[in-house]
């Protein structure tokens, strides 16, 4: 059952529990369609997403990562989304300075009521990543030699 999978991009989504995960629930309940290339993981808050999570995903084969949090000012944990915004900015800078495509890390504010927006963003982003092609980052063996950490 895995013949065509290679053509579909792999996008790992980190969705905060309070806003974007709820939006993903709503998108599903409303039967809004988006590609299965989105591979979601629920985290409590966007602020808990360590830059390593994003890099690890890219390193392990993902073509892109998307981080979804509450709108600025609406964070369930007061200011977590601002911290996430700073971290994503750093990851992007690092990727760019190493010569990689920084658009493969994306941050979106999607509130619990924005099921429509969730589906739309996932569709758009998948199309965009499809056009960009496969990520080169996955061919890097290790990031500073901690791949044996486990």
């Amino acid at each position: 059952m895995n013949k065509e999978e290679k053509q579909e991009p792999v996008i790992v989504g980190f969705f905060c529990n309070w806003c974007t995960s709820a939006a993903a629930d709503l998108a599903g309940t409303s039967r809004l369609h988006y590609p299965s290339s989105i591979r979601p993981i629920r985290v409590m808050c966007s602020s808990t997403v360590d830059p390593v999570y994003l890099l690890r995903a890219l390193q392990e084969g993902a073509d892109a990562t998307i981080l979804g949090g509450c709108h600025p000012g609406d964070c369930h944990y007061i200011s977590g989304n601002f911290k996430a915004r700073r971290r994503v900015a750093i990851v992007k800078t690092v990727l760019k300075s190493l010569g990689f495509d920084d658009t493969r890390v994306r941050l979106e504010w999607i509130s619990a009521s924005e099921g429509q927006k969730f589906a739309q963003v996932m569709n758009e982003y998948t199309d965009y990543i499809k056009r960009r092609g496969q990520s080169e980052f996955k061919y890097i063996d290790s990031l500073g030699g901690d791949s044996n950490e486990q």
Binding site: W18, A22, T48, Y77, S113
Partner: protein, 1105 residues
């Protein structure tokens, strides 16, 4: 100790999952894993047998962890964990893989990929689960108190239910009274109860209940803490009346001169700034509404309370009005005559017709006081030893002298002129400002001890003496030197300054029959022209731009025109000859730095005959001596810092000498600031940077404006005016002053005129009252924020901008027996009873293009009710109702609808109105009757729009503070629309009433009691359990760097000073994990969301194959 015997339970959810995902294949694949002891599927895992299956399997296979692949964890995570617990497995060893909302539904069109994605997600969940720890919930104490936000019917009900159950309840309402939207209604459907009768008992109960702490006119400012222990900060807006003393007698409202649109009557009536919203208000206390500094006060460089003295004048209390002026300004008569009135330029009445004549009102009250023999009483402050010299007795110098003597300083004012007043005395002609007025208003300063030394020209030597003798010096020397144009023959002309000074000091010229040309377009030019005219000359003002660009005050130009001054525009002087002046013609070019179009020479010349040429082209300070003593200047102006101090310490400067020739009010304002900083300087205090500009965004309420033209002042007849230097403008009469003051729209709300302060017998009024802040700790919160409706103005195509096209909420007030028309509806435009009336349903509702996509639920029923009540009030009237569908789904609702049709003869037309237009004093409603397919037009006297209901404006802000979600319209989002409609995702915060979505009263009250029961269930427990998914520190590797502490928004982390490791306060930690992402050593982690767990999941999800 990774788990080795995991059970995986895959739910079919009927066809919801199994219709897309091959669940059997999934189970087969999963069971291949070594760490999975058992994998199976079931049709409904959440059902009793499904849960039993999990329980039995745990026991049978001795499972050490469980993954349930089903729906969103928000729905059944708890169900599955409870099942596991019943079988003896720690509930935190259960994880959910959401393969319904996240897989089968969004990918229902691609079963193959959906199945593979589901497998991957289950695998990722297993990898995470493997390292889960067994946990027990954290126990937290609970504060047995509750907070209810919103004092409408839902909030009142919830608060009463809680209070009756013995829970101390804090009830916060933003308006001055409880009652919300319901108390505004005329009668309620379908029972036709009157809310005044059925709600007021509840309001009174809430107001007097021993367990209810009421905060009205208050807002929730901030919320912190968590379930069981919320800390709430409450801001109580200033009512300016001490409610502990207020008896509700209403004397304040009786005397209050400021009218505002009534919020309670939705602008269908006016109220006073001191008011009680309605007769049954709870608490029955008066409130004064003050919105802030009105534009007039803000625009005034001296920030006089313009709205205040206008308000007192409106009330006919001229003595109070002058006292209000005198509070800030001793020179009311001077200001009233010659101020360039920035206040009037900012006045919002100007948006409507023309600004309130604030200056003339001030002048009137000043003259009134003078006629009564009253003058400003200046009481000097306690004598101080410090001495201040002021050089210059003009606008800036006089103001500073006043402020300094008031503080008790010894003040001496030197001036080279033989009179007091500076430019006021010699620059402004007496027909505008008689010397007598200056002397009259300076007298209090002299009486208070200010010494004036006249005819004393300060030079270097004298300045050094003064500087030696005094502790501080103020240079307020004005601009008494003419600017030179360097024209050929310039010496043949006279400068306006000199000309005016000579005339003012009695050295008049005989200009009878002479031709005079005045060059310039400013106030001095106009003053010189009008003065020359009075001396008998034939005067022409020659200006290089056009009339609209003249910097002189508009009224003055008009007066000059009236008196016969002629104008020549677009000419600039080139040469002054024996018998005239040669000018070059100009044209207008691009805008220059002044924002006006610059005059550009054309090369064409024109000659004017003249016996006398007066140049009024600007003045500069006479500051050469100052330069010689070491005071820095810039193009003649004295250079000062932000504090008005010159380059010599202790020597300050203000007025035109600093700013260049400007006007009285700015000079006075700078003088006042200089005095302020001199006082700071003398007391060795920090100086304050000068801040004269201030903006106010407040605009008046056009709704309350009655049409009245600006009152004109009495002026001397033209024939007399041009023959003498007597004051030509005699000001307003008492009647016209009051009329003029009534034009004020009251932008600032309460004008702080103080009439109420005197009227209040219990001395409850404090116009300086500030907002007060309170803190409350509660265990649970109920949000009951209600709704509002879209304004009619938003629907101009339906005539929303016409006066007789109003919202249904406004119409409720007209139908209410307690309303402004006592229950007989009358047209706002002319007060006539409408004989034909149209009700339009779905205005903005079910209309995503113009409003909202949803149905507002209550409009059908209240419109039917309103049509009925209209017929009760107007027996011979006819009501038409334009609807899309009638939605009457409630107990007794459909029957109510039929009564309206059958008993009351209301005509229901099935068709949404598309247009409303005015014909004469009638309104025509256009629609298409969808039952007959024909267009219809109905002519009516009044139209009522059932506009869409939307959440209160303040909800979004409040939701942020509570960290609860709202939907795109702002309705508070419930945890689950069907099954947990009273809860928000934040534990301990509940919803009641229309804040969640529009509800009728029945539903609001039911929900309120429901939310109260939910809160009670929580508060009746001795201790609460909190999710143990919180931060944990591995003290072996923690370096105590404190980066986790920086990331924590809750202050839950401290650094142990002895062990130098991070310590987490379990009660405060909310489990967001911001700390873990910041930790450089991975020492801090959220339990069961440990970094290595997440990374394992990430690895599975990232795999390409």
């Amino acid at each position: 100790m990774a788990m080795k015997r995991i059970g995986v339970f895959i739910c079919h959810c009927g066809r919801n999952i199994a219709g897309t995902i091959d669940v059997k294949w999934l189970a087969k694949e999963i069971s291949k894993r070594k760490d999975v002891a058992y994998a199976t599927t079931y049709v409904f895992m959440c059902s009793q047998p499904g849960q039993q299956l999990i329980e039995n399997s745990i026991k049978k296979y001795n499972l050490d962890g469980v993954v349930v692949a089903n729906c969103s964890p928000t729905l059944h995570e708890r169900t599955m964990r409870n099942a596991a617990a019943r079988a003896g497995l720690n509930p935190y060893r259960v994880e959910i893989a959401n393969i319904r909302e996240w897989v089968s539904w969004p990918h229902e069109n691609d079963p193959e990929r959906a199945t593979r994605k589901a497998l991957r997600m289950i695998n990722a969940t297993i990898e995470k689960l493997k390292s889960n720890a067994s946990l027990t919930p954290v126990k937290v104490p609970v504060t047995k108190r509750a907070l209810v936000i919103g004092g409408g019917v839902a909030g009142i009900q919830a608060a009463l239910d809680l209070a009756d159950a013995g829970i101390e309840t804090v009830l916060v309402e933003k308006n001055p009274s409880l009652g919300g939207n319901m108390i505004r209604l005329s009668e309620t459907f379908p029972t036709l109860d009157c809310p005044q009768c059925i709600l007021t008992p509840k309001m009174n109960d809430a107001g007097s209940h021993p367990n209810i702490k009421l905060y009205t006119y208050s807002e929730v400012k901030d919320v912190s803490g968590y379930l069981g222990n919320f800390n709430v900060k409450i801001r109580r807006k200033s009512t300016y009346i001490d409610w502990n003393k207020c008896t509700g007698c209403g004397e304040c409202a009786k005397v209050c001169p400021t009218y505002l649109p009534s919020e309670f009557d939705l602008k269908m009536a006016v109220r006073k700034a001191a008011h009680i919203p309605f007769e049954q208000a709870v608490p029955f206390k008066y409130t004064i509404t003050h919105f802030g500094t009105p534009p007039c006060n803000a625009a005034c460089p001296l920030h006089l309370n313009a709205q205040g003295y206008v308000a007192a004048t409106k009330a006919g209390d001229f003595n109070r009005a002058i006292e209000i002026v005198w509070k800030d300004l001793p020179f009311a008569g001077i200001a009233g005559r010659i101020c360039t009135h920035p206040c009037e330029n900012a006045c919002s009445r100007g948006d409507l017709d023309s600004a309130v004549s604030i200056r003339e009102i001030k002048r009137f009250v000043a003259d009134y006081a003078k006629k009564q023999g009253k003058s400003y009483k200046l009481v000097p402050g306690k004598k101080k030893s410090k001495r201040v010299a002021i050089i210059g007795a003009g606008a800036a110098g006089l103001m500073a002298a006043h402020d300094l003597i008031k503080e008790g300083y010894y003040v001496v004012v030197y001036d080279k002129l033989p009179v007091i007043g500076g430019m006021l005395a010699v620059g402004i002609p007496p027909y505008r400002l008689p010397q007598e007025i200056i002397d009259y208003e300076v007298q209090p300063l002299i009486d208070a001890g200010v010494k004036f030394v006249l005819n004393y020209e300060v030079d270097e030597k004298k300045f050094r003496e003064i500087a030696e003798k005094y502790d501080a010096v103020l240079l307020a020397i004005g601009t008494h030197k003419e600017r030179k144009l360097n024209l050929k023959g310039e010496d043949k002309a006279i400068h306006a300054l000199e000309f005016l000074k000579n005339v003012n000091l009695g050295k008049t010229l005989d200009l009878r029959g002479k031709k005079v040309i005045v060059v310039g377009g400013g106030n001095s030019a106009v003053d010189a022209a009008r003065t020359a005219l009075r001396l008998g000359a034939d005067v022409t003002i020659a200006y290089r731009r056009v009339r609209e660009m003249m910097p002189a005050i508009e009224e003055e130009i008009k007066d000059a025109e009236e008196e016969g001054v002629k104008f020549a525009f677009l000419v600039s002087p080139v040469e002054i000859t024996e018998n005239g002046i040669k000018m070059e013609r100009m044209r207008l070019g691009k805008k220059d730095s002044s924002g006006r179009r610059a005059p550009i020479p054309t090369g064409e010349y024109v000659k004017y005959d003249a016996d006398l040429v007066i140049l009024a082209v600007g003045e500069v300070p006479d500051s050469t001596w100052a330069e010689r003593v070491g005071i820095e200047t810039e193009r003649g102006r004295i250079k000062v810092d932000d504090y008005l101090q010159t380059s010599i310490k202790g020597v300050f400067a203000a007025g035109d000498a600093v700013t260049g020739a400007w006007d009285w009010v700015h000079a006075a304002a700078y003088g006042r600031w200089a005095a302020r900083n001199i006082i700071h300087y003398l007391n060795n205090e920090k100086l304050e940077p000068v801040k004269i500009e201030m903006k106010s965004k407040l605009r008046g309420f056009k709704e309350i404006a009655y049409s009245a033209p600006r009152q004109s002042t009495v002026k001397l007849p033209l024939s007399e005016r041009t023959q003498s230097f007597a004051e030509f403008n005699l000001g307003l009469t008492p009647e016209s002053a009051v009329e003029e003051a009534k034009r004020c729209l009251g932008c600032g709300g309460c004008a702080k005129c103080g009439l109420c302060v005197d009227a209040c017998e219990v001395k409850a009024i404090d116009l300086d009252m500030k907002d007060s802040f309170y803190e409350e700790t509660v265990g649970a919160i109920i949000v009951a924020t209600g709704y509002e409706v879209l304004p009619a103005e938003q629907f101009p195509e339906l005539g929303g901008h016409y006066p007789d096209v109003i919202t249904a909420q406004q119409f409720e007030r007209l139908l209410a027996p307690s309303g402004p028309t006592a229950g007989i509806p009358k047209r706002p435009s002319d007060g006539k009873v409408p004989k034909k009336i149209a009700f339009l349903h779905c205005v903005g509702s079910r209309d995503p293009a113009r409003g909202v996509p949803y149905c507002s639920r209550i409009c059908c029923m209240y419109t039917i009710k309103q049509a009925m009540l209209y017929k009760h009030a107007v027996h011979d009237g006819q009501a038409y109702s334009f609807y899309i569908d009638i939605r009457s789904n409630g107990k007794g609702y459909e029957e109510f609808y039929h009564r309206a049709k059958e008993e009351y003869g209301v005509v229901f037309i099935r068709g949404k109105a598309s247009k409303v237009y005015r014909v004469g004093d009638k309104y025509v409603v256009q629609a298409v009757d969808t039952l007959t397919g024909r267009p219809v037009e109905v002519e009516v006297d009044m139209v009522v729009l059932a506009t869409a209901a939307v959440p209160s404006k303040t909800v979004k802000e409040l939701a942020k503070k509570l960290r609860i979600p709202v939907d795109e319209w702002g309705w508070v989002k419930e945890t689950h629309l069907k099954l947990r409609p009273l809860e928000t995702p934040v534990a301990g915060i509940f919803i009641a009433g229309a804040g969640q979505f529009i509800k009728d009263i029945t539903d609001s009250v039911s929900q309120a009691s429901g939310a109260a029961a939910k809160a009670l269930a929580l508060l009746s427990r001795p201790q609460l359990e909190k999710e143990p998914l919180i931060a944990q520190v591995d003290t072996e590797i923690c370096a105590g760097c404190g980066r986790c502490k920086e990331a924590c928004a809750y202050g839950a982390i401290t650094i142990d000073p002895i062990r130098q490791v991070a310590v987490v306060n379990q009660a405060l930690c909310e489990g967001c994990g911001a700390c873990s992402a910041n930790c450089p050593t991975t020492a801090i982690n959220i339990v069961n969301f440990r970094k290595e767990q997440v990374l394992r999941s990430v690895e599975i999800l990232s795999e390409v194959l």
